[in-house]
């Protein structure tokens, strides 16, 4: 289990790169890479030679997240101005522009079947679900207010939703918030189930294990990565090793490893059997905002504030 650096693109964007995802391969082309940056552009890369395929403009303020449909045909990008732009990957034709004012947009993810797009709604303390056929808002999963709090109470603002993740079976959604709590929802009933506690600082990234719909990984500013049993409400293990905020986490398709990107400028590879960091990549010179495993495995990509993109081989 190790990472081997393959290629890095310096100055891939004009500004900090904040988001990255793999666009799955289609019949006509292999998998692509999608990156979003503070420079208000979204770029599409061919991962074998890291050649720029296309630059999408049209966002104002920085692009904070990108998500790809499991089919690989469409993708979504979201920026600080709270718009989500859905577009055709190959033609860059706009399909829809989603807005659910006044909620902001942070992390997004398509469900495994590709019928729904879940969007972390920031200060609205909710996750918005969009139908991918009609692009209508179909549900708002709100985190219930703690009881006994007046609606005007300031602490309610702490449930600021930053991250969202679908379970691999598509039945659960977990969302992480600024105060460190993770909320789990039943999607079919659109119902809040429970909180997962353990973090007390912002949870910026969440991912379910691709092989086990119960296992959830969370990355938090408290420098820890937690592994939860999302159904049993229990913290399986906490993994420490980063020197600063953990900004991004992704699980390998085989479920045996996770990778994290941190403000401490490293990308770490964690062995889930050992529950320990196996490797620490130090090629970035600034905070690493995004890490992502290729859905088919074998490749990992990371993006950073240093404007670069790095590709690794995972074996």
């Amino acid at each position: 289990m190790k990472f081997a650096g393959l290629k890095s693109v310096e100055n891939a964007h004009e500004e900090s790169v904040w988001a990255v995802t793999w666009v799955p391969a289609t019949e006509t082309r292999p998998a692509l890479l999608l990156t979003g940056s503070l420079d208000e552009t979204v770029k599409l890369w061919r991962p074998d030679d890291m050649q720029l395929e296309r630059t999408n403009t049209g966002h104002c303020l920085g692009v904070v997240s990108v998500a790809a449909h499991p089919s690989g045909i469409i993708a979504a990008s979201a920026s600080l101005d709270s718009f989500v732009r859905v577009f055709d990957v190959d033609t860059n034709a706009s399909i829809a522009t989603l807005e659910a004012s006044p909620s902001e947009v942070w992390q997004m993810q398509f469900d495994p079947k590709g019928t729904t797009l879940a969007v972390a709604g920031g200060g609205s303390a909710s996750v918005k679900l969009w139908d991918t056929a009609t692009w209508n808002l179909i549900a708002t999963l709100s985190i219930p207010r703690p009881e006994g709090l007046k609606p005007t109470d300031k602490s309610s603002s702490k449930k600021f939703v930053l991250s969202v993740a679908w379970s691999p079976d598509g039945r659960r959604i977990a969302c992480g918030s600024m105060d460190g709590t993770i909320s789990v929802f039943d999607v079919t009933r659109a119902k809040f189930l429970h909180h997962l506690e353990g973090h007390f600082m912002p949870v910026r990234s969440l991912v379910y294990s691709p092989v086990d719909p119960r296992v959830l990984f969370s990355a938090s500013d408290d420098t820890h990565v937690h592994m939860y049993d999302a159904e049993g409400k229990s913290l399986v293990t906490a993994m420490s090793g980063h020197a600063s905020w953990v900004l991004s986490v992704d699980a390998s398709p085989d479920g045996a490893a996770i990778t994290t990107g941190s403000s401490d400028r490293t990308v770490k590879l964690w062995d889930l059997n050992m529950r320990a960091a196996m490797q620490s990549m130090t090629n970035h010179t600034d905070q690493v905002w995004g890490v992502s495993f290729r859905p088919l495995g074998g490749r990992v990509v990371s993006v950073s504030d240093d404007k670069s993109i790095s590709l690794y081989e995972y074996s």
């Binding site: 904040w18 200060g123 603002s157 460190g180 600082m201 420098t223 049993g232 229990s234 905020w245």
Partner: protein
């Protein structure tokens, strides 16, 4: 091995001796399980086989579980009963009795052992046991002798490593230079205060003499030796040590340096020794020594390991003194080790070896199991994870599983240190397990505090407070705990409580604990800020102190009082408030002396800056910064920020930005939204709107729920747009981007306004709405501007085209004219030549007058000159023609222009062309500037009549500037609020 095996196959029933052989082989190969099997088999065959018994016992002992030790000792005793002269068994037994404190038995046993064996290492072990026994009994003379004897017996120092019960012996290259690390077991009764570890180094004898305190005689002895062997490293080193003890550090250093020259291999050791010895008296010099050692090591190209890790693991300290400082010093050394080596990235090697050294020092035990995989099978219930760090279930369960949890009290310190190291390398999870293990057995205050600190770092304040309270239960007056509690209460916005806590902490140390005092002071400042919030900012709050309401006045009084108290205890570094000038001088004096004074000096700088004495405070901050960066123990990002603030206040934006950026990068991994806000503000003041916006967007990305940042971003965009629109000259592109920016701003503000409905932030809705309105107006205006600009652009394009055409036409005409002129000239020249011919003819004729001739000559001259003129003109025209083809139609049109004298006409043409170009707004900017505003003004008026609002635009513009100032104020206010925060953080 294979031979033995084969033998075994041939004779399966052969005597135990062979089994024993196999066992030994396996043991050496590290296959402990198989070795054990072999030994057991041997014992079965021959229950009287002493060797097997001993070997098994040794293995049991090395497994180092309490049960194992007991079993091992039983076996040893059995072996002893069977054969009382087995040296190995004797040694182990002696070892055991040493730990149980039966020194008499130790001596007897080892003496017997010595009598019966000739084996070097065994003998050495025996001597060592004896030496230890005497050592702990305080009989240094005998101990010294036996240490010497032991050292003499060792050929390969590596064989002599006994990782038992915290007694670990590190051998360093030279067999004479075996250093014994010994826990001073004698005096500390359990439960132990932070335990002091003494590193007895160098040759036993010299050390013992040193121990005896007989420095003078030791000195003379060593000096005698040195006379005979001036190049004897050992002696040089020993003398160095003695000088250190006598306080003559310079001389010591000189000697050690000399030793280093003679034997560079040995030098690091010498310097490390020096450092060790200095730690108790002079930490600064100690660090220098360590640094020298480090460079020497590097020069020698050697690995860093054991020596440095010894520094980490062990500190020489006079027992009983400064107990609670021991740990501080320890941490310093530890931090030094990896900070100074590679400031940016940890020296993995060092950390690892340090890690290993602690583990060695600990020996085997439950902690190893805990650190390895076993713990991870225990799942902690997430709902109970609130108590994650208090959770002792782990150990109970562990015990229930049949594992014996035992923690020999003399290992607590080492374990604690290991945990501390783990914490430092960010392995917090493992560290917390170890701390809990300590707490499971002992009420160790610092472990509670560390756990509390971990919880605090993870923002789990509730748990952290609980843990500190636990610590306070153990020792209610422990100032560190009190200070921490105060801190936590502050974080929880519980100022009143915090104040009391800090006061208690301060009282507990009779006001000597500067941290508590400073914190107390800070609380008053916080209170000031808190009440100052009513005012427009922090600075104002401080400046208006005298006029401030009663409450503030009381707080201020107290703050002053505290400052003066601080003053007394710390040479007045903090009393800037009373006499800034005087204080400044004093503060600078004391800055370098003590770290806490750095903070005080920093505080003084803040006060000075608030008083507006930027130059003085800048000097102060710079000095603090230098001092702080020179010291590896002190991490003071605040002083960087303060310095940047001062630069900012002085209008030195470029430097301020640099400072902020460096600070962010150096201390915060670029994760501090607050500093980004400062940075953005600096950009804002420097009118770098785009940079300002980018910084703010970054800050938003880091702190998404901070709506203030969004507001500020909105303001920045608004300001950007307004400033572009106010510019006299702008391109259509600029205006377009302005419109886009304004749209963003409107979006941001309307978002904020919508969010304020949800009570997500504390903004005044009205204020946001005014911003929205204003931005919308601005946007409308901007759109018109954009249209105007676009139209203008279009027109410009048309005009340009026209101008170009005109220019072309001009060319054509000119060419035509040239041609015409040429023709004319040609025509005129023809008669001249005719005339000349004629005159020539006249010349020929005798009857022609001279006058006439002269005339003709004149004329000819003139003709010549004009011709040349025409020729050049023509050439020019030709050159131009070369570029553009004349258009006949235009040329014919232009022909109508009056043509007077040749030259004049030429000028006219040029002027005309210029005018035209100017009219087209191509070349002359003044003209353009005059025109454009009139156009836009007209359009503005038009736009206003169109817009719903009846107010004249000019008024809006004025409103807008007011509004902008307002928003500036807002930004500044935010800034200063946070500023206050930073100032609080300062100490």
């Amino acid at each position: 091995m294979t031979f033995v095996k084969r033998a075994l196959q041939v004779h399966p029933s052969c005597p135990g001796a062979i089994r024993l052989g196999i066992g030994l082989c396996r043991y050496k190969l590290g296959q402990l399980g198989k070795a054990r099997q072999a030994f057991q088999r041997a014992l079965q065959l021959d229950p009287e086989n002493v060797e097997a018994l001993v070997a098994l016992a040794v293995m049991d002992l090395q497994a180092n579980e309490a049960a194992g030790i007991r079993k091992g000792m039983e076996k040893m005793q059995r072996a002893f009963e069977i054969y009382p002269y087995c040296a190995m068994a004797l040694n182990y037994l002696a070892n055991h009795f040493f730990f149980t404190g039966q020194h008499f038995l130790v001596e007897q046993l080892t003496e017997t052992a010595l009598a019966v064996t000739n084996h070097g290492p065994t003998k050495s072990h025996s001597y060592y046991n004896l030496a230890r026994s005497y050592h702990s009994k305080g009989d240094y003379e005998k101990a010294g002798l036996y240490y010497m004897a032991s050292v003499k017996e060792i050929n390969k120092p590596h064989e002599f490593i006994f990782p038992y019960y915290g007694f670990f012996v590190v051998s360093i290259q030279d067999s004479y230079n075996v250093s014994f690390v010994i826990c001073s077991t004698a005096s500390c009764p359990p439960p132990p205060p932070p335990q002091i570890i003494t590193w007895v180094s160098g040759t036993g004898l010299g050390q013992v003499q040193l121990k005896l305190g007989d420095f003078r005689s030791a000195l003379t002895n060593f000096e005698k030796v040195l006379e005979i062997y001036p190049d004897n490293c050992e002696t040089l080193k020993a003398l160095g040590h003695i000088y250190v003890q006598l306080g003559q550090i310079e001389k010591a250093q000189e000697l050690l340096r000399k030793a280093a020259k003679i034997d560079p291999r040995d030098a690091q050791v010498a310097f490390i020794d020096l450092g060790e010895l200095l730690i108790s008296s002079d930490t600064g010099a100690a660090l220098d020594a360590f640094k020298t050692a480090r460079t020497l090591l590097k020069k020698a190209g050697e690995e860093v390991p054991i020596e440095v890790l010894n520094n980490i693991g062990v500190i020489h300290f006079e027992k009983g003194e400064f107990e609670h400082f021991v740990l501080c010093v320890f941490f310093w050394v530890m931090e030094f080790v990896y900070l100074s080596l590679t400031p940016d990235s940890f020296d993995v090697l060092v950390v690892q070896s340090a890690h290993q050294s602690f583990k060695d020092a600990l020996g085997d035990g439950i902690w190893l199991t805990l650190l390895d995989s076993k713990t991870k099978t225990y799942v902690i219930d997430a709902s109970a994870s609130m108590l994650q760090f208090k959770d002792m279930q782990l150990f109970h369960r562990f015990e229930n599983d049949g594992n014996h949890v035992e923690l020999p009290w003399n290992k607590v310190t080492v374990l604690f240190n290991l945990a501390r190291l783990l914490e430092q390398i960010h392995d917090t999870v493992a560290a917390s397990v170890l701390y809990r293990l300590i707490l499971f057995k002992v009420d160790y205050v610092d472990a509670y505090l560390r756990l509390a600190a971990i919880a605090k770092a993870r923002n789990n304040l509730q748990l952290s407070i609980e843990l500190v309270n636990e610590a306070l239960k153990v020792n209610g007056k422990y100032p560190n705990a009190l200070s921490m509690l105060g801190d936590l209460e502050l974080k929880n916005d519980d100022w009143v409580k915090a104040k009391e806590t800090f006061r208690a902490a301060s009282d507990a140390t009779d006001g000597k604990d500067s941290y508590a005092t400073l914190s107390l002071l800070n609380i008053h400042l916080i209170c000031l800020v808190g009440f100052g919030k009513g005012n427009w900012n922090y600075f104002a709050a401080l400046r208006n102190e005298k006029r401030a309401p009663k409450l503030e006045a009381t707080h201020l009084e107290k703050a002053k009082e505290l400052y003066t108290r601080d003053d007394k205890s710390q040479s007045g570094s903090g009393s800037g408030k009373a006499k800034p000038g005087l204080d400044f001088a004093m503060a600078t004096q004391v800055i370098v002396q003590h770290t806490s004074n750095l903070y005080a000096a920093n505080g003084a700088g803040v006060v000075l800056a608030e008083k507006g004495q930027f130059d003085v405070s800048k000097d102060l901050f710079t000095q603090v910064q230098e001092a702080a960066s020179g010291s590896v123990f002190v991490q003071m990002p605040d002083v960087w920020i303060n310095l940047a603030h001062v630069y900012f206040a002085q209008g030195n934006f470029a430097l301020a930005m640099k400072m902020y950026q460096n600070c962010l990068r150096k201390f915060y991994y670029n994760t501090d939204a607050q500093i980004l806000l400062y940075l953005a503000r600096t950009h804002y003041e420097a009118e770098q709107w785009q940079d300002c916006k980018k910084s703010l967007l970054r800050a938003i990305h880091l702190a998404p729920s901070n709506y203030t940042l969004r507001f500020d971003a909105g303001v920045a965009m608004q300001k950007f747009s307004a400033s572009t629109l106010q510019k006299t000259r702008r391109t259509a592109d600029e205006v377009r981007s302005t419109v886009a920016e304004l749209e963003n701003a409107v979006r941001v503000f309307s978002h904020l306004s919508a969010a304020s409905n949800l009570h997500l932030h504390g903004f005044d809705e009205k204020k946001i709405n005014t911003h929205v309105e204003y931005c919308k107006h601005l946007l409308d205006a901007a759109k018109i501007h954009r249209e105007a600009a676009e139209r203008e652009e279009q027109q410009n394009r048309q005009r340009q085209e026209a101008a170009r055409q005109a220019a072309l036409a001009e060319e054509a005409r000119r060419k035509a004219e040239e041609q015409k002129k040429y023709l004319e000239q040609w025509r005129s020249s023809t008669p001249a030549s005719k005339r000349r011919e004629r005159s020539e003819n006249d010349d020929d004729e005798v009857g022609h007058s001279e006058k006439r001739r002269r005339k003709g000559g004149k004329r000819r001259k003139k003709d010549k000159s004009s011709r040349s003129h025409y020729e050049t003109e023509y050439a020019e025209a030709d050159m131009m023609d070369y570029r553009e083809e004349p258009e006949d139609e235009d040329a014919s049109m232009n022909y109508r222009e009056p043509i007077g004298q040749m030259n004049d006409q030429d000028d006219d043409v040029e002027e005309n062309a210029n005018d035209r170009l100017a009219a087209a707004g191509l070349e002359d900017s003044d003209v353009d500037d005059e025109m454009a505003p009139s156009i836009t003004a007209a359009r503005r008026r038009q736009a206003l009549s169109e817009s719903d609002d009846d107010e004249p635009f000019e008024r809006q513009l004025r409103d807008n500037t007011d509004e902008l100032q307002d928003s500036d104020g807002e930004l500044r206010e935010n800034d200063h609020k946070s500023n206050g925060g930073a100032a609080l953080d300062d100490d």
